[in-house]
Assembly symmetry: C2
Homo-oligomer: 336 residues x 2
DNA sequence: CCCACCGATTGAATTGTTTCAATCCGCTCG
DNA sequence: CGAGCGGATTGAAACAATTCAATCGGTGGG
């Protein structure tokens, strides 16, 4: 494959001039430039990103590590991040940790080797150990969908406690007195915060924590939701409402209930979380807590760019907390 | 950031030895190795991928360029490809062309600069011009979800003509005599093949092409489906069935009909395509043509690896065609 | 007459790793 | 005693770009 030297020889100039044609065209005489461009075209020359990275010290790629790209919520986050990155001339490398701290560590290692210019990460490791280790490499990173534990990190999150309160508050004000919470991996902050918000809503209505019946789940997908739905049906007494930690679970629960002939919302009301596009198209359109996913992705990328561009340590870490919004649809209503 | 030279100095050995410790540990005496590893740990050394790429001539990254990651079908393709790639120790860089030939060209250029070891691509450019230009770089690529136009490319596809026949054959045998086809960008092969299959099914039942009423659409997402649904409602006479080019469109159409009080399947039957996870969870569970997306992604990646690993030109290009499968659910039934 | 400066171009240094031929050391065999 | 050998280690070349100080001939001012 042709290199810059071949182009220089072909055009009868030095490699430095070829480099200038590519990077600072205005600094080269028009006819020299034309000659070089012709040589580039003729040889099919493409500059090597690895060589320029080597010199620059870091790549022009931003990494995004999410829990699961099978969840449309994260696809939206990625969309927002990608748009911001491309505006800055950067590529985005999207990876799934699958909620596994080990996979997360592996990917972070990969990012360090790649010398990515920064990492957007939805942490899968509750201890924060992975990121603590990663910080050593002095590659900037921004937490996504997670509040910053310390002040030495930027973060963009959505107020999950408030989201939980919105969801369960809505159910309680519709008359429900016992609510199931289909949760997810207990070490995810999002899950815990949403539960806490749910408990707060119950407390405000004078109900104790026993009014929230937890149905644990180790994954956050539709299949896990079907599973949880089956377990929900077996509960005695059966709660009159379900709050699901995300929409995928809610869709799975809905399918389960539907298959068992349980009517939604007459017999059981359902509220999901994320308001993914498919929530509105569900068997019974799903009440859900909407998160500004695209905005979150974009803001996270912008914070990262700010931190990465700031060579002199003038950067001040910031935490942005966005607000969720309840979208009421047919799946929630008064009990019986 | 510490480099291999710093490690060598710290451990009192040469850079070559450090390289050996990392890449061929058995070739270094245990205590030397221990000393080097200690130095690596102490300095927090991480080898630079760009430097090793520079030497190797190509990167350890496989690119995947799909039409739209917002479509769960492509997420599944990506999953399959990623699994195969990781087994081979490669990373995957996933990008969306958004069905735009310009974006496709831009990304292909990026991949050439990155010297990726190969590209999996769902072509957005019907002319094939982008890939023809790309072939010049001698970077192997495999067509995904598209039959190869020539024999100098590997390809993995699903028989879309057969898929269209399955879908519309099912509708016809249920008694429908007029079927709407909610299509997509006309320059996508998938769309055209599915239409052709639909026409074949109609012909087999003695119906002419006028029995297929096309409702064009320039995108393939839920919003475009809602749009198409609205147009469907305005048709006189109104077809009794709709075949949608993919499930996102079908879900959108379903929402539209639902909102207008049209009953599915009693008033209009719907058949989608892809059988994404959300099809089964829709307002009316969606009949759909299932594609083996994960398998397709995996096979494509494996073909690519085979081609990339093959230094001497012994590689023979292959085209794999997978078979789709009709999954009948509530959204399709006999008319009136 | 000399020097500073002009814009364009050059040549060399630099980046971090891998690889390979050369070297070194201790050992054995002739 | 010296040659030969094998394993461990070294040192330098190579990779492909960027960048920067040096250089070119020509010009105008002091």
């Amino acid at each position: 494959m042709a290199g810059i030297k071949d182009v220089a020889r072909q055009a009868g100039v030095s490699v430095g001039t070829v480099s200038n044609v590519i990077n600072r065209p205005e600094a080269v005489l028009p006819d020299t430039r034309a000659r070089v461009l012709a040589a580039i075209e003729e040889l099919g020359y493409v500059r090597s990103e690895s060589a320029r990275q080597l010199r620059a010290g870091r790549s022009r790629i931003m990494a995004l590590l999410v829990l699961d790209m099978g969840n449309p919520f994260f696809v939206d986050v990625a969309r927002g991040a990608e748009r911001a990155a491309r505006e800055a001339g950067l590529g985005v490398m999207v990876c799934n940790s699958g909620q596994s701290p080990e996979e997360e560590a592996e990917y972070l290692g990969l990012f360090a080797e790649q010398r990515v210019c920064g990492v957007l990460v939805t942490p899968a490791d509750a201890t924060g150990g992975n990121l603590e280790a990663f910080a050593r490499h002095r590659i900037p990173y921004v937490l996504v969908d997670r509040v910053a534990a310390t002040t030495d990190t930027c973060a963009v999150s959505v107020d999950d406690v408030r989201g939980g309160t919105l969801a369960v508050g809505h159910l309680v004000s519709a008359g429900h007195r016992s609510v199931a919470y289909v949760s997810g991996p207990g070490d995810l902050h999002q899950i815990r915060d949403r539960r806490q918000g749910a408990l707060a809503a119950l407390a405000e209505a004078g109900l104790g924590p026993e009014a929230l019946v937890e149905i644990p789940s180790d994954r956050l997908d539709v299949a896990a939701g079907r599973d949880a739905g089956a377990r929900l049906l077996g509960l005695v007494p059966r709660p009159t409402a379900v709050f699901c930690a995300n929409d995928l679970l809610a869709l799975g629960v809905l399918q389960s209930l539907y298959a068992a002939g349980v009517r939604v919302p007459q017999d059981i009301a359902i509220v999901g979380y994320d308001d993914i596009e498919f929530a509105a198209a569900a068997a019974v359109p799903l009440t859900s807590v909407r998160q500004p996913a695209v905005v979150m992705g974009r803001m996270a990328a912008e914070l990262l760019l700010e931190e990465a561009d700031d060579a002199d340590g003038g950067h001040r870490h910031r935490s942005v907390v966005l607000q969720p919004e309840l979208v009421v649809r047919a799946s929630s209503a008064a009990p019986r």
